[in-house]
């Protein structure tokens, strides 16, 4: 509370958006009921907005301006002022064939990851409702353990499991009749290597989805499901028309988050390839990083990053409307 009060003077712009009937109280919100009612939400929001504007809003603006400048090593060290170059960076990036193949690769990678995560997560959540309690406990422990695994740790473990010479995966696959994966290098080709990375991403993402959905499922009134069953609905019908609509807000939220996270996959690729992803492993994030810190063309990196953000906005805009609908229903 006190933090909120001290920051009130720093958020004047939103106040003007309040109804004119409340006008005439520019500095101190009076104790009156009416004024308190519109000031309270802004007081509550103030600290959050302040942090976000400082550490996210400003850099975002800087990212945009950077992408229109010529900004390389000399500018970074301050030997030369950054000069305005208009759309030159974008022209260079958008006419580069490599960039477009990176875009396609990223979309396929993220789309596949999200789909696998959501479907598998939902199935696990539904399964958890139907198993005996000791199985549920076991699965929960496994899920939580894999959820809590730091990405860096997970990458390391997967690298070890898919190792060419001593990897347990090659050994297991070779046990299958007619299959010989002895000494198979999973990272010799981009698509195969990215599939392994996708597996890693999905493995790490399922627990959050499954556990959250499973918590959501416990809030679905049993009576509703029983009623549907009595009325002759099958297992799928009950899920489709009773269970799913109730947990839909959760599903939408988690799909959105998955899209963001899977488009932003970075350490997985970066660490898996030892800090130097090959061209056929590049996703938009690593590509932007490579341009900025590998070739020291910070402006080009910023342009690619901004294009990623814009692309993501397009993907997510669809969900945004639904989110707002949820917000209105409250």
């Amino acid at each position: 509370m006190s933090a909120a009060e001290t920051t009130t003077t720093e958020v004047p712009p939103p106040r003007h958006s309040s109804p004119p009937s409340d006008g005439g109280t520019p500095r101190r919100p009076p104790r009156g009921r009416r004024a308190g009612r519109w000031a309270a939400p802004w007081l509550l929001l103030a600290p959050c907005l302040l942090v976000l504007v400082l550490v996210l809003g400003y850099p975002l603006v800087r990212l945009a301006t950077l992408s229109f400048q010529d900004y390389k090593k000399p500018q970074l060290w301050g030997f030369k002022p950054a000069t305005w170059v208009g759309f030159d960076n974008y022209k260079a990036v958008l006419t580069d064939n490599e960039f477009w193949s990176v875009v396609v690769r990223t979309v396929i990678f993220a789309g596949g990851s999200v789909l696998l995560t959501m479907v598998a997560g939902m199935l696990v959540a539904l399964l958890l409702q139907r198993v005996s309690s000791w199985v549920k406990t076991l699965v929960n422990i496994a899920l939580v353990a894999s959820w809590a695994m730091p990405v860096v740790v997970a990458v390391t473990v997967f690298k070890w499991m898919f190792d060419t010479d001593y990897g347990v995966v090659n050994w297991v696959l070779s046990k299958l009749p007619g299959v010989n994966y002895d000494g198979h290098n999973w990272f010799a080709s981009g698509p195969e290597g990215l599939t392994v990375i996708m597996l890693l991403v999905v493995w790490g993402a399922i627990p959050f989805v499954a556990i959250t959905l499973s918590a959501g499922l416990t809030q679905v009134p049993k009576e509703l499901e029983e009623a549907a069953r009595l009325d002759g609905a099958g297992a799928f019908g009950t899920f489709r028309y009773v269970t799913f609509p109730i947990i839909k807000p959760l599903v939408v939220m988690m799909t959105t988050l998955s899209v963001i996270w899977d488009m932003g996959v970075f350490p997985q690729v970066w660490l898996m390839r030892g800090g130097h992803p090959e061209p056929e492993f590049q996703l938009l994030t690593t590509y932007s990083y490579e341009k900025a810190f590998g070739v020291n063309d910070y402006a080009a990196g910023a342009a690619i990053a901004l294009i990623t953000v814009v692309l993501l906005m397009g993907v997510v805009a669809v969900y945004m409307r639904q989110m707002l609908k949820i917000g209105e229903v409250e």
Partner: protein, 296 residues
């Protein structure tokens, strides 16, 4: 709730239909349990493989025929992992940063979530869209400008700078998730408390907060793990001698080749405490939850 109210009707005369239903239910329960165990194995295997590799002698780890059980048990890998470079310093720094981030994030985020879920006000929609939008921004895309900003406000190589950076992804997530939990708590409960003489704050503390607690805990834990696991910004902001735990672990890869066995030992030391802590709270969360209160 008690056995008395639910059991008796089925007891006295089990008709043929009821018996058949029970048998079918038992059979599908077994199928589900088997599926559940498969999920358990798939999900747990990487974790198990990490532990297995960490606890067996290093030479067994590179045997072409994998040893599935860590016999003989060896702690040599842990000794080696601790000796390669300072371990406790990075862990301490990671703890400080994660705890601070989550604490600030939970308080600030809860206030904001309350504002957008419990108040009708002009500009509310804009704020919601804003927070959603902010959440869409991939942090990887912000490395360059964030670095420039931290440099400007002299927060490079400082834990506070890292906390500030982490808040950018913890906060929107916290606000949005808590909002989701809050929406699930009916306003009527609060209003009933207010009719009974509670103030708005009183109603929140006595009615909403207890119902929200599991969600708040879940969100905080998730935030803690996110902060603990973060790698990229920790690598960028902190210097070599002030590195966090994740960066410490990744520095294993730059040694001559990759020493998998000590690396798995390091991974174990870093991951397992978090996993245990998480399991502990998970149980607490499962206990109550809002289901009963809301229905009543």
């Amino acid at each position: 709730m008690s056995a008395l109210t639910t059991q008796p009707p089925a007891r006295p005369a089990p008709s043929a239909g009821a018996a058949l239903l029970a048998a079918r239910r038992r059979r599908s329960r077994i199928t589900y349990n088997i599926l559940g165990l498969i999920v358990f194995c798939l999900s747990a295997f990487p974790v198990y493989w990490m532990l297995n590799t960490a606890f067996k002698p290093a030479k067994d780890a590179i045997d072409p025929n994998p040893h599935f059980f860590p016999f003989p048990l060896s702690l040599e890998n842990f000794r080696r992992a601790l000796n390669i470079s300072d371990f406790w310093g990075p862990v301490e720094r990671s703890l400080i940063v994660s705890a601070a981030t989550v604490l600030i994030g939970a308080v600030v985020g809860l206030l904001a979530a309350l504002a957008i879920s419990r108040f009708a006000f002009r500009g509310r929609k804009i704020v919601i869209v804003g927070i959603l939008t902010v959440q869409m921004v991939p942090l990887v895309a912000m490395i360059i400008p964030v670095f420039l900003l931290l440099n400007q406000i002299h927060q490079i190589d400082k834990l506070s700078g890292l906390v500030l950076t982490y808040l950018t992804f913890i906060l929107p997530f916290t606000v949005w998730t808590l909002r989701g939990f809050l929406v699930n708590i009916p306003k009527e409960l609060e209003e009933a408390a207010m009719v009974d003489g509670c103030s708005r704050a009183g109603a929140f503390i006595r009615v909403v907060l207890p119902l929200l607690a599991p969600g708040l805990v879940a969100t905080s834990i998730y935030g803690f793990i996110q902060a603990w696991n973060e790698f990229l910004y920790a690598l960028l902001v902190m210097s070599q001698e002030h590195q966090t735990a994740t960066v410490w672990l990744s520095s294993f890869t730059t040694q001559h080749g990759t020493e998998y066995a000590p690396m798995m030992a390091g991974s174990t030391m870093m991951g397992i405490p978090i996993v245990l802590l998480f399991l502990l709270v998970q149980r607490k969360m499962a206990a109550g939850l809002t289901a009963g209160a809301v229905k009543g």
